[in-house]
Subunit: 511 residues, 2 copies
Amino acid sequence: MSLHSLIRSGKVSVFLLVLLCCPVLCSGIPDPAYRDYLIKEEMSRQMGGKVPLTDAEMQLNAQLQKMKRQEMGGSQFPPAMHFFQAKPLIERSAVYSFIQRMPKGAALHVHDFAMVDTAWLVKNVTYRPHCYVCFTDDQSVRFLFSLQVPKSIPHCSAWTLLQTLRAKMVNCTDLDDSFIRNLTLFTDHPEEAYPSQDVVWKRFEQAFLVVWGLVTYAPVFKDYFYEGLKQFRADHVIYLDLRALLPETYELDGKVNDRSWTMRAYQEVAQQFITDYPDFLGARIIFTVHRYVCSAVRITEAVKEAMRLQKEFPETMAGFDLVGREDAGRTLWYFREALALPKDLGDNLPYFFHAGETNWQGTDVDQNMLDALLFNTSRIGHGFALTRHPLVKELSRKMGVAVEVCPISNQVLKLVSDLRNHPASELMNDGHPLVISSDDPAIFGANGLSFDFYEAFMGLGGLRSDIRMLKELAWNSILYSSLSSQLKDKAMDMWTKQWDKFVEESLSYQN
Amino acid sequence: MSLHSLIRSGKVSVFLLVLLCCPVLCSGIPDPAYRDYLIKEEMSRQMGGKVPLTDAEMQLNAQLQKMKRQEMGGSQFPPAMHFFQAKPLIERSAVYSFIQRMPKGAALHVHDFAMVDTAWLVKNVTYRPHCYVCFTDDQSVRFLFSLQVPKSIPHCSAWTLLQTLRAKMVNCTDLDDSFIRNLTLFTDHPEEAYPSQDVVWKRFEQAFLVVWGLVTYAPVFKDYFYEGLKQFRADHVIYLDLRALLPETYELDGKVNDRSWTMRAYQEVAQQFITDYPDFLGARIIFTVHRYVCSAVRITEAVKEAMRLQKEFPETMAGFDLVGREDAGRTLWYFREALALPKDLGDNLPYFFHAGETNWQGTDVDQNMLDALLFNTSRIGHGFALTRHPLVKELSRKMGVAVEVCPISNQVLKLVSDLRNHPASELMNDGHPLVISSDDPAIFGANGLSFDFYEAFMGLGGLRSDIRMLKELAWNSILYSSLSSQLKDKAMDMWTKQWDKFVEESLSYQN
């Protein structure tokens, strides 16, 4: 019976109806039902807003949200602090512990020589025989493995065999600690140590020079990658799209191995790792070259090399990217002829461009995000500047191009200080495709993905984001990976099994 | 002749056509024309993107953009620094000088007792007869005008007549400087002085207590407002929507004037000022009360008082707002019954709510922006958190509700450090209605609107925003003011005359 006929039948008088509806219709207070609808509509757009939960997951979610509310009410809020100062707080956090144990899927934005905890490099690698060290004029160090004393290099002391140096010392802790300090940006007073982007980028790039002589030593190269996979697996990650420079490696006798050796090493080590740990899916390689080159010819050569490697290692080679500080390098458009080469030759070389890792608006570099999309990039690395470009943001969403958000990296490299202001917060709230990654965890004193997931969950997501957001982040990491659809299915199966086990164990652990 | 008939006629062979088009059609390089179209489309969405320019304006714009590029290429970029440290740099900037001389229209978000340079208060007001001072336990001061020694107040030294105190001193500079320090947040080392939002808000609110005894002295109250209008006019502002607490004022003999006296004082002083300076349009008052009240009854009373004042002073009374730190106060929804009162009574009391001046996402306070819109707010004060709420952002755009963006205030009160990351950058690039204002310029060591315009133009707008953005900001300040449409027309006429003169003089000055 309609309202109209109810009234006409005399069963409800108009007077009564007005009286009943008055609290809503006649009051100046906005209709609470409409308000509620708008709030729910907004929440459904948020990352995870449409993810269904099982009863068990809902139960776990209630526990998680309780922990979250408690931690957000504390006197210190880690995402508002510099990660270097927040880290000890995060490590004591129940939410972090939850996130650490949680299967997180894949890490899609990690660089080759920043995977492994620097302590491992110092305690394991530098203690191997034949490791030489020299000390540079600017308080840094260089390492090299060699049978004889290596040729001296400019602005560096004479090479000393570390074994000999250490033998003379009563206690090597200070020396080892100084090595660790050189391998990471981590410090107790980041604001003083790194007053500007220029300073922090200089130290950041120097850290890679320190690690270089260690990790390009062929035996270490393989061990490092194996150890890296181990550390990501320990953080409950099952797969990596690894950005790799694919350097030549050297042997003790000075022999040099070419790039194909390096690719093969990645492939073989990953295979060995899967054999040792069948709950891990593997890794693929995004070949990266530096954007600070003087001539576009170098990029043309690199693109050709990428196409060659793709043919030689179709299963391992995922695509191509340019690395280095965007503001200091050439733009994608500058390299347009080189980047057009695959299409010109009828090849399909997937791109995974870094773009928008900048605070400068309206510069040529700030155009990289649009150009990455025009070159059909598979994902956008960082995309920190994306929200400043509404049209580019629309394009990336329509094209289904995920942004690889690396909160701690962006903070340490001084794009943003308080992570609640990270622009990806908006992308998450508007359901833009994105994944969370860690960029260079070892250099930032982080590891795996968990610290970045924590920052994203607590700082970017706000009080309302819950287990459904974490679930969608894990799903996204598989969905937007470079894996074939067949391997994506396999990854989803693996992840789902681990997730269900995690939910079950967490509930029994809590109860 | 169409392409098709050209080919059919044999005048152009298909072969030749393919050859001609190949650089675009066959190359892997994205079509530069399409790229160009996307870039231009994005720029047309930006604030000012659709503003037409005269030849003279285009000429001036070229000069402005040249200055802008030069300053953005410098070693220090003021919007990336704390305003207290950037201020001396900005004062030397050619872009700032341009903006300072430029007619900026109206100031729509300024608070009553933070309009006037604090030096004026110390050098003029505290030197008037009968001014007493006392020094608080926490290194602050209080002032009071009185015929006799005032009654002592808790946590404060005995009252001393300033005239007597100064007479004993050889040099009063140190004392006066200490007064100035108490009246403003300005300091050379803001990061050390204000480590957290709690600390900076405490000092911020204390500055209002210091100024209180001076400006609520009835004669000073009028002089202060006159001086405030003078300083805004000197900064080339023609009108203000002033947020005012409308306190009772006191006379030397202790007599107290009520709120109607205060409103009348505003009205009369503004009228006098227009008579003295006919190139100024005036000011209207947004009655504000503190949101830290214990009971909603107080807000109900305030809303009733606002309705009463609106009837008594229809030309001067613009509307109603709540002030104070949002995170520390009650939400708009908590006060919903009080705020519904005007509509319940068939009254139209315009609202100008502060909302979204927060970094906390997902809290009840973070809901204020939605509720402000549901209560049909005329503008949103700050709206710092708006971009985190895509749905609310859509609503405010559709409803034509402008955001009052106060960059320096947001930075000093620690919502954001690097102003290139201010979320209103995105609103500007997406054509969301907004105006720039200065909130509490005197307390931040700023004045008028120019420093905030500079930060918005250089920091939020990026390299591409130009004179058209500045023009749209000025237009918006009139369009979104509380003025009647008739007075808006008048304001536009006044502004246009001043603008045309500015353009002409700037060009002849430059040539």
